[in-house]
């Protein structure tokens, strides 16, 4: 899965919630913070990551992953799965 495909997958998973907030999911930039924006709360964010783990067929070290700057941004989520960061 490349970055474009993963972005599309994340946006699909965020779909109804993005629309709920009046956001155009396809226009979300990499620095958009999924938690601080109010789009997801902590539980919702963890659910998103575990959903993506299922799609990728591998687990990430969640707490370690969340302990880096920008972890809850859209770009941070993409990096987590594509670059292992």
């Amino acid at each position: 899965m490349d970055r474009t495909e993963l972005r599309a997958l994340v946006q699909e998973k965020l779909g109804s919630r993005s629309r709920r907030l009046g956001l155009d999911g396809t226009a979300l930039k990499d620095d958009f913070d999924l938690v601080r924006s109010g789009l997801l709360d902590s539980l919702g964010f963890v659910d998103l990551i575990t959903d993506l783990e299922g799609a990728f067929g591998r687990q990430v070290e969640l707490e370690k992953a969340f302990d880096r700057a920008g972890a809850t941004t859209l770009g941070g989520v993409l990096d987590l799965f594509l670059n292992g960061r």
Partner: protein, 487 residues
């Protein structure tokens, strides 16, 4: 002086200042303040309060977890005044309701939050107390006002007296063995009355209050480890989050000595998992509405762990508080009523709501608070939570009246009816709002964000062409839940 006055919240802090002045009292990020340093800040803020607000008045505190909030709360209490917290993430319209309802005469905020308050506050605002003349300690009667969700449209203010808090602190500080080496969590928002436990149980013990940074919910394990946390207090949802993050593993938190849970039902399943993750910790389940000051019943979880399943009991009343189950004659099930030194006298400026919830019984001087919680009292006097008698729900530990969401939306749906229901998604309670007329729902969320706290924003708003009804003509809630499930 009544016995419990010795446990006045400012008094317990002041005693620790005298005994342990050089020990750490507060840690925020990498910064630490000793008891003596924190007291000096509080004394200066108290001096500012004396010069800018009437004696005995209420003073708002912007609840961003910075030194200003903690020293502000202490300074306000030191000055004999009462504090009214504002949640940093709540919309300005909510702040306005809180400020106006409470009649707060001034506000304490850190410099960055002063800008956020902007023109909302036409009262004196303190953000820098350098050079303020310190004030002596003054007695006060009210400790704080906290606001809870109200079913008739707006939040309800609950004034809590210093003697209410004293009764709670007397129990906690004499019943549990905390030490000056203990390091306490501060996970609760300052607008949640469970934060009063965080602050004053810690400071009454001479321990250090460890304030987590932003987004800390996702980094709880490292927060516990890096701060050397020994006393944990959270809603059970925080443990559920840890489990979902695969961090709730046996032996994960060996340094914890005391764990307290409150704010929502604790399942035995989670309690078992926590007991293994924190094998050296006592575990206490607490229960109590804001109206009864922090928590009014307590249950020792480990003592009953062997054969338990379902939901952890609420336990029995703490201190000299009283409980009774009001139901059919001879029945052990019914509504839980509370009385005693922790029970408030009523709501702020809401006589009707007060008279419904706070009642007097014939031949009894006590004020009994009707909780709306349905409970069962077993043969040993232990209370078990069965559910609510009304629609109130808990969302991540926050008390929510779904009708308050409906009230906020109603003006935007002039030709329809709004109905907010609670449902469980992925094991978590969430709100779903239904509207019985077809319309674009996106603008509605934007409106709600202007007036309601984030946890009250529904997970979804679903427009349907008329509500389904039961054979008796009532709204068929099960059919609505199915629509939500399929949507």
């Amino acid at each position: 002086m009544a016995k419990s006055d010795n446990f006045d919240p400012y008094e317990v802090f002041r005693r620790s200042v005298e005994r342990y002045g050089d020990l750490p009292a507060l840690r925020i990020g990498d910064r630490t303040w000793t008891y003596a340093e924190l007291d000096a800040h509080a004394a200066s803020i108290a001096g500012w309060c004396d010069r800018n607000a009437p004696s005995g008045s209420r003073i708002a505190v912007h609840g961003r977890k910075e030194l200003a909030a903690y020293a502000g709360i202490l300074g306000i209490l030191r000055s004999g005044r009462s504090y009214v917290p504002l949640h940093p993430d709540h919309p300005r319209a909510r702040w306005q309701v809180v400020l106006e309802s409470s009649g707060a005469a001034a506000c304490v905020a850190d410099p960055s939050s002063t800008r956020a308050l902007g023109d909302l506050v036409d009262r004196p605002v303190l953000s820098n107390w350098d050079g303020e003349r310190p004030a002596d300690v003054r007695q006060g009667s009210e400790a704080y006002v906290m606001f809870t969700s109200g079913s008739t449209g707006g939040p309800k203010g609950v004034p809590i007296s210093r003697s209410n808090v004293s009764a709670y602190l007397e129990h906690m500080l004499t019943h549990h063995r905390f030490t000056t080496g203990d390091r306490f969590t501060q996970l609760f928002a300052l607008t949640f009355d469970l934060s009063v436990h965080d602050l004053f149980v810690c400071w009454g013990s001479g321990g250090c209050l460890c304030v987590p940074g932003e987004d800390s919910a996702l980094r709880i394990s490292s927060y516990i480890a890096s701060n050397g946390i020994t006393v944990w207090f959270s809603v059970p949802s925080a443990v559920a989050l840890l489990r979902r993050m695969r961090a709730l593993v046996p032996g994960a938190f060996p340094g914890l000595k005391h764990s307290f849970f409150c704010g929502e039902a604790l399942s035995w399943d989670l309690a078992h998992a926590w007991s293994e993750a924190a094998p050296n910790s006592a575990i206490t389940n607490l229960y109590g509405p804001t109206e009864a000051t922090i928590a009014i019943t307590s249950f020792d979880v480990r003592a009953a762990m062997a054969h338990a399943s379902g939901t952890v009991p609420l336990g029995g009343p703490i201190g000299t508080n009283e409980v009774q189950v009001s139901g059919d004659e001879g029945s052990s099930e019914g509504e839980l009523w509370l009385a005693g030194p922790q029970v408030a006298q009523g709501y702020l400026g809401a006589a009707e709501a007060t008279s419904r919830a706070f009642i007097h019984l014939p031949g009894d001087d006590a004020v009994w608070y009707r909780t709306g919680d349905r409970v069962r009292k077993d043969g040993e006097g232990i209370l078990h939570f069965l559910g609510r008698l009304d629609d109130q729900v808990k969302v991540l530990g926050h008390r929510v009246e779904p009708a308050e969401v409906d009230f906020a939306l109603a003006p935007l749906v002039p030709n329809g009816t709004v109905l907010t229901l609670a449902t469980t998604l992925n094991g978590t309670t969430r709100l779903v709002t239904f509207i019985d007329t077809m319309m674009d729902t996106a603008p509605l969320v934007a409106r709600l964000q202007e007036v309601l706290p984030p946890y009250m924003i529904p997970e979804r708003i679903i427009a349907v062409d008329g509500f389904p009804t039961t054979g008796h003509g009532k709204v068929d809630r099960n059919a609505l839940f199915k629509i939500a499930d399929n949507g």
